[in-house]
Amino acid sequence: MYSEKVMDHFNNPRNVGEIENPSGVGTVGNAKCGDIMRMYLDIDDNGIIQDVKFKTFGCGAAVATSSMATELVKGKTVQQALEVTNKAVMEALDGLPPVKVHCSLLAEEAIHAALWDYAEKNHITIEGLEKPVNDISEKEEGEEEEY
């Protein structure tokens, strides 16, 4: 069902864990499917993401996308991190099954939530960052076909 890359990131997730006193932390959940993802960021004074950790309660795809997302943002600037979309994460994982696309949104939103927290703590605004929604299922498109 999953690509080799997904399985690799699921079996050997990168950057699992917590960061003490993080620059920003965000927790997002998909109330529909009940999955929860938490992202910790350690951002230096130059706005570079020095470290990132995650914890995820969710399926194989959720774990793998969190893991991949942490790899993609690590060492990047805050602005670059904003550009890590769910599409980018999915591409980096060689794709996800259609029913699992929504899991990748969780990773994107978790980063945004952590960045929002960082911005609030530091009283700055990050260009292009919108206030994260707690329940990302509201943002999903893709109607289910009914038979």
């Binding site: 399985m7 699921f10 079996n11 997730p13 699992v16 864990g17 917590e18 927790t27 998909n30 529909k32 499917c33 009940g34 999955d35 929860i36 993802m37 938490r38 914890k55 995820t56 309660f57 969710g58 399926c59 194989g60 959720a62 774990v63 029913v99 929504h102 899991c103 299922s137 289910e144």
Partner: protein
């Protein structure tokens, strides 16, 4: 342990080699259509008759009350839609439960669109249908009660005998989806007042794509699949002779081995349940502890999600299933787990292990040992577990 440990027998089972053996001649040798007139047809007809008898004997039915279908889902659809059709003039109210299989529930949703009214009776925390609610739901226009014999997810065996009694006291037809129970626990359609019953070959080590519908004599249900005059004009389509022979043989074996087999399964099952409940923290057994299918174990591990568990179990060579939303393809966890009152996040961590008498204690022990590692690993990366631990430490 590199051999596959198959613990998903509620999903489907291995065709027993002796069942396959019995089927084999009917593919390429005795391939005749049993409806034909020549003597070559009488060989396959005889095989069909024999199978029908074996199936009838397993549930104490008469041979000509057994109809062969294309599977359990077809039987369920037939029972509901064609009863609705036939008895619509009497009434348009049907009673079922909240924990039925989708073959029942989605058919009910379809009937609702067609103007029927469905009452979904609730179950208690062990998954047993509330009999008082059931009885209170019966109305003058109720034409059918459909309650499953045993649940496919949590294994709870329903008080079918009492349901049948209630139905018949009120002059209402009683259908039971026995797909999980058929061949696994004793069923007597007469004693239990069952008017219609669905069963499926591949849940009892018979072939896939063959089902059974029991229809009590006198029940005026219509056809669901119209066409040729097969099955006493009630179910059209060239008879699937090898499939019928297969479900017949599987039914015969199931009858002969039931006592011994379920004793063995129950001992494996209880060993598995006991070890999980004592050795893994924050776990809950779903379904009734005693009125339970001999081969069913269903537990929820808190703070973790089912699909991830399944993938890691798979890597350890264990086949299992989960009612997690992530495995359902529908973003909702199992309706059965919700119906017994579990919140979403707990239903998420469900694991179903359904064994067979061919499993061994060694296999079960291996699974529990693996499971302990898997649960620990997944909890270590769970934000919910992190929150829980932090709260504890406060």
């Amino acid at each position: 342990m590199s051999k596959l440990i198959y613990l998903d027998n509620a999903a489907t089972t291995q065709v027993y080699p002796e069942v396959l053996q019995e089927m084999l001649p009917y593919f390429s040798e005795v391939y005749s259509n049993p409806s034909a007139i020549y003597s070559f047809a009488s060989e396959s007809k005889k095989a069909v008759d024999k199978a029908r008898t074996s199936v009838a004997e397993l549930i104490n039915a008469k041979t000509d009350e057994i109809y062969f279908t294309g599977g359990g889902s077809e039987s369920d659809n037939w029972a509901l839609k064609a009863t609705a059709d036939a008895y619509a003039s009497k009434g348009k109210h049907i009673i079922t439960s909240t924990i039925e299989h989708h073959a029942i529930l989605h058919t009910c949703a379809y009937l609702e669109k067609k103007g029927f009214e469905i009452t979904y009776v609730n179950v208690d925390e062990n998954g047993k249908v509330k009999l008082d609610e059931l009885e209170a739901a019966i109305r003058p226009d109720t034409i059918l009660i459909s309650i499953m014999t045993a649940n496919n997810e949590i294994g709870t065996i329903q008080p079918v005998r009492e349901i049948g009694r209630i139905a018949h006291e009120h002059g209402v037809l009683f259908h039971t989806d026995a797909v999980q129970a058929f061949g696994h626990i004793p069923i007597d359609v007469d004693e239990m007042n069952i008017d219609m019953l669905s069963a499926s070959g591949h849940k009892i080590n018979g072939p896939k794509g063959i089902g059974v519908m029991y229809i009590r004599k006198g029940v005026k249900i219509l056809s669901f699949i119209h066409g040729g005059a097969q099955e006493r004009k009630r179910r059209a389509g060239t008879l699937n002779v090898p499939g019928i022979v297969g479900i017949g043989k599987a039914a015969e074996i199931a009858k002969n081995t039931m006592a011994e087999r379920s004793a063995k399964e129950i001992s494996l099952r209880d060993h598995l349940i006991d070890r999980i409940l004592t050795e893994i923290p924050y776990v809950r057994l779903n379904g009734d502890r005693h009125d339970r299918l001999p081969n069913n174990v269903n537990v929820c591990f808190r703070y973790i999600e089912g699909e991830s568990m399944l993938i890691l179990l798979d890597q350890a060579g264990v086949c299992a299933s989960s009612g997690s939303a992530c495995t359902s393809g529908s973003l909702d966890p199992s309706h059965v787990l919700l119906a017994i009152g579990l919140p979403h996040e707990i239903a998420h961590g469900s694991l179903r292990l359904t064994l067979s008498e061919k499993n061994t204690v060694e296999e079960i022990d291996f699974v529990v040992d693996e499971l302990k590692k898997i649960i620990e690993r997944l909890r270590s990366m769970s934000p919910l577990y992190e929150d829980f631990v932090k709260k504890q430490n406060k």
